[in-house]
Symmetry: C2
Subunit: 217 residues, 2 copies
């Protein structure tokens, strides 16, 4: 993503006072969102916590919804499970996938926005704008996985019968499921378990599940 729907540059070319206010407001909103969810975010609470006057909030945002929307946007911006190290694509498929999944797991459990994930999901279920926001985020976040799977398929490391879309769902789905629904322990080792299970079937004709090292083409 280049510029997330607004102007990240403009942010700096503003009156320093404005920038300060906006930042404080965003921080407070995000904090409230994280600690208590959607319903917990109140203009007055944001004002109190940010130290910014309520009127000032209304000077920058027209409604509570927009405020929350923007807060989510800022919260997600530094996220995504990319950026780790962009050189995995040519390596071992298994290792690449494990790496990506570990990133996702970290994001869903240790990141700043982790506590807000369920709230975000709920919001996305009703508000079209939120839905779009999540959609864009996912496109971005899953880009790495898509590329990795696609190239592995072309290379022949993954069977041609593997549907890339379904593959992503099967890798990422279990992680989200544990985080949101079953709430079973979710640590880095789960990445390996999932990928192993997935790969054992996804790797072309290899019988069990040893390393997929001996390929040429």
């Amino acid at each position: 993503m280049a510029s997330n729907a607004a102007e990240p540059r403009t942010e700096e070319s503003l009156d320093p006072r404005v920038a300060r206010s906006r930042a404080a407001i965003m921080d407070a909103t995000a904090a409230l969102l994280i600690e208590g969810g959607f319903a917990h975010v109140t203009i007055e609470r944001v004002a109190e916590r940010s130290g910014v006057a309520k009127t000032t909030i209304y000077r920058h945002w027209t409604s509570r919804s927009r405020l929350i929307f923007d807060a989510f946007r800022n919260l997600l911006a530094p996220a995504a499970m990319r950026d780790d190290h962009p050189a995995w694509a040519e390596d071992d498929v298994r290792e690449g996938l494990v790496h990506l999944l570990r990133g996702l797991i970290r994001g869903l459990t240790e990141s700043a926005w982790a506590p807000a994930v369920s709230t975000l999901v709920d919001a996305g279920d009703r508000d079209p704008e939120m839905r779009q926001l999540i959609h864009d985020f996912l496109i971005d976040a899953m880009a790495g996985a898509r590329i990795l799977i696609a190239s592995a398929r072309e290379r022949g490391d993954l069977a041609a019968t593997v549907d890339p879309g379904v593959a992503i769902d099967m890798l990422v789905g279990p992680v989200f499921y544990r985080r949101l629904v079953s709430r079973e322990p979710l640590g880095p080792e789960f990445a390996e378990q999932v990928v192993d299970q997935f790969v054992a079937g996804a790797l072309t004709p290899r019988p069990p599940l040893p390393t997929s090292r001996e390929r040429g083409s």
Copy 2:
């Protein structure tokens, strides 16, 4: 109020007026929950919609939280993806799994409580009681899948390397993921896609993915 936390039987042995009121209240609460989520449920709105006086609601429930909790409970009660037909256990693993997943997909997209799933998840993220409720529900809902996988493993239809817990996550996870997060189309055919992908690796030594018909034991 004597007991509103359990006793499905008691429900009928009550004063008919009480039963009627309670039912109307539960229905209205569920409806509000479905159409607008947690925050949309208001005692006064429940009163209005159910035709029951606000005071009567307070006569049966001590707080809004309990009310919502009970409504969720009633909503989930008739759910679960079991009950379809209990004779799959001995059949083809693939078919059994597909059958179960189809049930789950129907539940998550067409059931009465489907629209409330994300709200439920969000609630479970904060409230311990809700968490417990969801947990119990899942135990029950996944029972079929657990049994099926366990017996298939013992029978030798599934590799011993398959972790039953992870297997369930990998089957069910993608479905929830599509429903809650990616929001891509989620129809019955997804059940087959997931199971095929899963089984292609989970079935012991079978190479590609033809029918697993030629077995004796």
